[in-house]
Assembly symmetry: C2
Homo-oligomer: 367 residues x 2
């Protein structure tokens, strides 16, 4: 294991949590590159030593024994890592689409990829194919558990089902912690909430459960990206996250507001005008004895992917979800009742946990 080298990009919430986990990992690979948006810290060539201390990189950034540089291009990073005296792994803790589109460059050079970044796996189908072809070519590995459900065992479970010859017929679930929180509070199973939709959104925003612009959650695009990934693993050739219907929860009238601070404020101010629409949806479900939830589903046989509102029986697992939990149900030929995975599907620590667990598996396979 000591002969494995690690480059890490991103020191945001997930990146910081990951570095803390890495620092405590026994037999951790040598951290030789750590990149932030404008700065890159490197172990000096040609020895690729000393390594960067993962738990203490901020202090180490001041040390003269490390090399400092501005932002490097993916090609420069790939070239640096592939010249290290051993196998190397890139951990991409960003959500950068440009970096994701460069994965094939890394993989062809034999650099394995571990990442929670959805962009590489949920954009054009051609990129997905190129990534796995490049991995085969470079005998490199690609692990991306945290792209769906954070650290929950979703990708690995689906891959195991497929690899062992089970037939996955349907996948259904709540894939967004934010939308889970919104609907669990707006339309609880007990029916006890009189909360208005705009109030629940404002509360979620205040608690930091939404993106800075809540429309980035409400547009359903994040859920659509996750469904794209799962559908592809299940064998569907989904062209991209815009190749199937996505029900946006952004009122059409407010979609064009800019993503500036002013635009966001105006969005939140005008959202109450649409409370009646959402109340009608909630009451419609209530009249059927059901609750409304924002879900994603893949029907493998029908080759159908859908993202949007749906009604659920109050005693169903999806209706009973609490807090901001995710739930993912796999319906397969072998499993009479669905195989269900449930729990926190967002947050720095649990997302980083998925990344670290993937890293351990890659190390074991390269080791």
């Amino acid at each position: 294991m000591s002969n494995i080298y690690l480059g890490v990009i991103g020191v945001g919430g997930v990146g910081t949590a990951f570095l803390n986990q890495l620092a405590r990992l026994p037999n951790a690979p040598k951290l030789i590159l750590l990149a932030r948006s404008t700065q890159t810290l490197l172990a000096p060539t040609p020895a690729y030593s000393p390594a960067i201390p993962a738990g203490d990189w901020k202090a180490a950034a001041e040390s003269p024994s490390l090399t400092k540089s501005g932002a490097l291009s993916p090609e420069e990073i790939a070239s640096y890592l592939s010249s290290a005296p051993g196998r190397s792994i890139l951990v991409d803790n960003t959500s950068d689409p440009a970096l994701a589109s460069s994965y094939p460059v890394f993989l062809r050079k034999g650099i394995s990829i571990v990442t929670p970044n959805k962009k590489g796996f949920s954009s054009d189908l051609s990129l997905w194919k190129e990534i796995f072809a490049a991995a085969a070519e470079g005998k490199a590995l690609v692990y991306h558990e945290s792209t769906v459900g954070a650290g929950l065992p979703v990708i690995s479970t689906l891959r195991d089902l497929v690899a062992t010859g089970d037939e996955v017929t349907r996948i259904e679930g709540v894939f967004s912690g934010t939308l889970s929180f919104l609907f669990n509070n707006f339309a609880p199973v007990s029916g006890a909430s009189n909360a208005k939709w705009s109030e629940v959104v404002a509360q979620a925003k205040e608690l930091g459960y939404t993106e800075p612009d809540p429309r980035d959650d409400l547009n359903g695009m994040d859920v659509a990206r996750k469904l794209t990934i799962l559908a592809r693993i299940a064998g569907l050739e989904v062209q991209g996250p815009d190749a199937f219907p996505i029900e946006s929860l952004i009122p059409a009238e407010l979609a064009a507001l800019p993503s500036t601070a002013d635009g966001i404020t105006q969005f939140m101010t005008e959202l109450p005008k649409f409370d009646e629409q959402m109340a009608a949806i909630k009451e419609g479900a209530e009249k059927q004895g059901k609750v409304v939830r924002y879900v994603g589903s893949v029907d493998v046989a029908k080759k159908e992917v859908r993202v949007g509102l749906q009604q659920f029986d109050k005693d169903s697992a999806i209706a009973g979800l609490k807090g901001s939990d995710n739930i993912i149900s796999f319906y397969t030929k072998r499993y009479g009742s669905p195989l269900i995975v449930q729990g926190a599907g967002a947050g720095g620590d649990v997302t980083a946990m998925g990344v670290t667990a993937d890293l351990i598996k890659v190390i074991q396979r390269l080791g």
Copy 2:
């Protein structure tokens, strides 16, 4: 991958399902040994070729090109496998404690183990320690996902949580498909069942959901073995499945009946005498607005393992379980709400799926 050799022991329900999955696996390792209780089929030495066709082993058993033998000792099997011209893996699809106690012999010779057999991991703590020490010594791997929850991702999830530095505080769940079925039908959340306990047991026996002797389910020992395994992975030094309290559902008066056909018949005949006792337990829970379930739990901080009856709120995930499903909840420091895995935890196909998925991982690591 083509240089990996496989020995398989056991052709019962799980063994047969596994061989069917193996037959469809792309790049499967070469099956060079297949052992039943009294007969062993081998690829002839010294070439270890031709291999045994996994999907068609019954017909192949008649072929003169394979070597036939009576039952071989674990030492003989280990010696045969370790002389193969590549890395080898033993898949133990039995529930044989004697074979399990020989795992160290295989591992020290560099033969990896994949198995759903609980015995090696849930008997004396000394055997557990010896197994993992032998694996380290022989640079061999041990995968046993299907020892808990069959193909459900239970062992792998717990190992990932521990390996990435999370602190598992508590594990709780329904670990027996049989006991799940019994209580979901005896005390459903709807309260609608007037079924007597003995009737539900008889029905489960008829449907093939119990062991031939239902007392092998009702004694709680199978659940205790699973809890022993989970507790050990979570870091507790549990001496064995008899080192903590197990609430047996076998009336003391009927425990001594022999395990013969006559004894089993007598057990089933006398069980109705105890229906009132079970009805009282059910009603006691009902009075609290709860339902009774047979669960296992590990409290890591208190170093406590328990197996037995417990009352649950009707809207809890455990109470809501259906059919013969298992549910396992991991409470950890990182996960605010528990990480839950749920689904079929018994049956040939799904147990074999866990074995096959493990085999793929071992091949990837050896490859």
